[in-house]
Symmetry: C2
Subunit: 344 residues, 2 copies
Amino acid sequence: MNMKDDPQLRRDPVTGRWVLIAPQRAQRPINLPGHAPTHRTNGERHPCPFCPGQEADTPNEVYAVRDTGTAPDGPGWHLRIVPNMYPAVRPDVDAPAPATADLFVTAPAFGTAEVLIDCAQHYDDPTQLSDKQFADVFRAYRARMTALAADPRLAHVSVFKNVGAEAGASLGHLHSQMIATPVVPELLRTELSCAAEHFGRTGRCVFCALVRDELADGARVVARSERFVIVTAFAPRFAYEMWLLPVAHEPRYEALTDYGADELAALLKRVLVALDRVQNAPAYNWFLHTSPLRTGELPHYHWHLEVLPRTARPAGLEWGFGCHITTVAPEQAAAELRDALPKS
Amino acid sequence: MNMKDDPQLRRDPVTGRWVLIAPQRAQRPINLPGHAPTHRTNGERHPCPFCPGQEADTPNEVYAVRDTGTAPDGPGWHLRIVPNMYPAVRPDVDAPAPATADLFVTAPAFGTAEVLIDCAQHYDDPTQLSDKQFADVFRAYRARMTALAADPRLAHVSVFKNVGAEAGASLGHLHSQMIATPVVPELLRTELSCAAEHFGRTGRCVFCALVRDELADGARVVARSERFVIVTAFAPRFAYEMWLLPVAHEPRYEALTDYGADELAALLKRVLVALDRVQNAPAYNWFLHTSPLRTGELPHYHWHLEVLPRTARPAGLEWGFGCHITTVAPEQAAAELRDALPKS
């Protein structure tokens, strides 16, 4: 018996979520066509509502990186943020009343839903962006979150990117989404309360402890720069799941400097090139976990970006019971990713 | 503005999970090929380790429905349960020690993983099963859970079925999985504690309250029989998500009678035919939520079966923040399903 391949239970250090890592299951027979998640494909170029010249297909921009002297909603832009034409939440309804004790509670979906179009080119792969373009995306997240914080009705902005149809993208042209809501969403509330519990028990930020231990051990470190480290998740939901964290204690993403955005972009882009090499361009999401809007500098919370590649299709144990099974140990995944990094 | 199509926030009556229902998003442009989840396809027939004659490809059976006088692990069976050849948990390792305060906790994955092969025919669609075969599956769940309860190291059995590659099935030949573990998995713990909280506050089982209100209202009722009702979930994770519940208070699935199994099977099969008609044979999971092993008759918990069709691909808001968006209101889904029911 190869002990290394015996299935393991692992507990996520932040949320306490248990997962199973079972490398032997990679050997199981498969006879159902379409079992593997689909890799990324290119979107059709026409019609693309996010391409230059199609500005009339989107609502008026609320933020843009533009050539000097060009007018809003016309040509000359390099990055645009526009309200989502097909929003899941709307600013023109009442903010929900507090939850009641009723069994069936429905509320108008108040909030703002915006689309960040990463670039004027019809790119569908983040690694096609120049370092400057990549950094502009992270600066735009910061700018828009700071602006949305001025509305006291909004408590949180969910910032995420879907890359590839398997990861839920419906348009190929690179874009992110920013959904601001009056409530802090469930997974972030869980993280915040678990981190507060850890702080109360140990006097330390759990993410600071994680970064310290990961850097000391090294087995799950994929890449690091001066300010940031990218590790494979200790208890992943999907194989090759990665977390990017500031090395120092940084509770609020909005405090990211321009130097920090440049550094983050360069580091993440290299790691995404490695992910594409190792897993043949998988679909993925990335999403930003940071303190709710207008909170001060929390001692127990530390912003980070999670990258979740679609390396398997969750099934009954995942959806029905909340327990994820993966077949590649995170230490193995990190070693493969390090070997595939482009020269910096 | 059509108010009916305005996005809504809804709160799950049991767990408190918030979801968004946004029918207008069904109109959004899509230019990325492969955006829609794949519908069910047939598995390749050869080689199939679950077909008769291939018994040597699976470990020895632990339960079977067989013709009288036939020997284990040979021909003559109609349903078999065998240990999983590629288990995510194993019975021959130590049960995990209690969780420690360490950041990175790993434990041997103790437990049993079994596969229930539904039928001797190479069927890949549950509605191909005869009513007797369908009922035998639900009787076998009961028998095996009762047998596994004799091992005091095991606390819970996760019973689920994956139908279709998009829902995580790797083999087409119809089968269920039963994974017994020393811990109660996360989503069931959440349900149990939310149900206990509701009971403490109201003196009622939340599922009994739900069944009463759903039957009184009728808008989400898909079908009912004497003992059971199937409703569309009030706050679904996927459009057309359905819950099958006993109408009376039944905490433990193991107490299901043979009459109950027959009735459940007939009801569920009719509804799955309707689901296939309405959504063109989507992939789905079903999973059983019931009291942990060896618990008595809890006043606050009520077993039920959830059916989760893959009608969309979860993206960044779902995976990153725990908030599901669907585009079909459950009342609309229930009306479509009722219209598509076969005559009983």
